[in-house]
């Protein structure tokens, strides 16, 4: 779902398909090797948003996308 820009992401948790229930895996058409991203958000119609990370998508892709969106690519820590 589309989040508005005032939404605040409180946490992101990524779990393996193998660690969720078989029924949930079937409902989401997920395999044991896939992942489920659970995002807790404030200022959003939904407090908890889940997304399947399936097939060739890596669990790290969201982190890379977030870094890119935040303009942090190629930046160096200066502390």
């Amino acid at each position: 779902m589309e989040l508005n820009k005032d939404s605040e992401v409180k946490s992101i948790t990524i779990v393996k398909g193998s660690s969720i229930s078989p029924a949930e895996r079937i409902a989401r058409k997920m395999g044991m090797e896939d992942f489920l991203e659970i995002m807790v958000v404030k200022n959003s119609p939904l407090r908890m948003i889940t997304r399947e990370i399936k097939g060739a998508q890596k669990p790290t892709d969201g982190f890379r996308d977030a870094i890119s969106s935040a303009g942090l690519l190629n930046k160096k820590f200066d502390f």
């Binding site: 090797e33 790290t60 890379r64 969106s69 942090l72 160096k76 502390f79």
Partner: protein, 164 residues
Amino acid sequence: MEFPKESKEIFIVDEEIVEEFLNEENYYRSEIFFNYLSSWCCCKHAHMIPSLHKKIIDWIKKETIGKDTLTQTKVIAEFENWVEEADLLGEGDGDELHDTELLFDLLKLIYPNYPLRVVSSKYKNHPKLGSMDVDEIFQNIASNKEFMEFFERKYSIGKWDSSY
């Protein structure tokens, strides 16, 4: 092949592997490391001493001033998913070596049978920490044939040393 593997390794990292993940051209070693954590390790994330963890979050906030709340909080939440603040230290005392040694001792006590690995170039010659730099941990993971076969198959990529 049995899946998932549940390696019992536990990792303490510093800022080096996170900084490498920011690199547009050369992030593959840290990407492999983070994927190894999520796919192959029971711990799922690495530990970081609190003072360093706070520095990185403060740095993200500083560098994303002017960005919207969603963009800023999402990148922080992603970082926290992969690298957990070792809050069992409380705030730590801010001395990186001291806090890393303390965290190492604590984790060793809690998980006596789990291999504990420190990923940092700062403590390579430290008699207790025996840390590995990013290149060494990458070589270590890359030598895990079973994991690499899984990774290359799952994400349809070639061998890391030829075309990845």
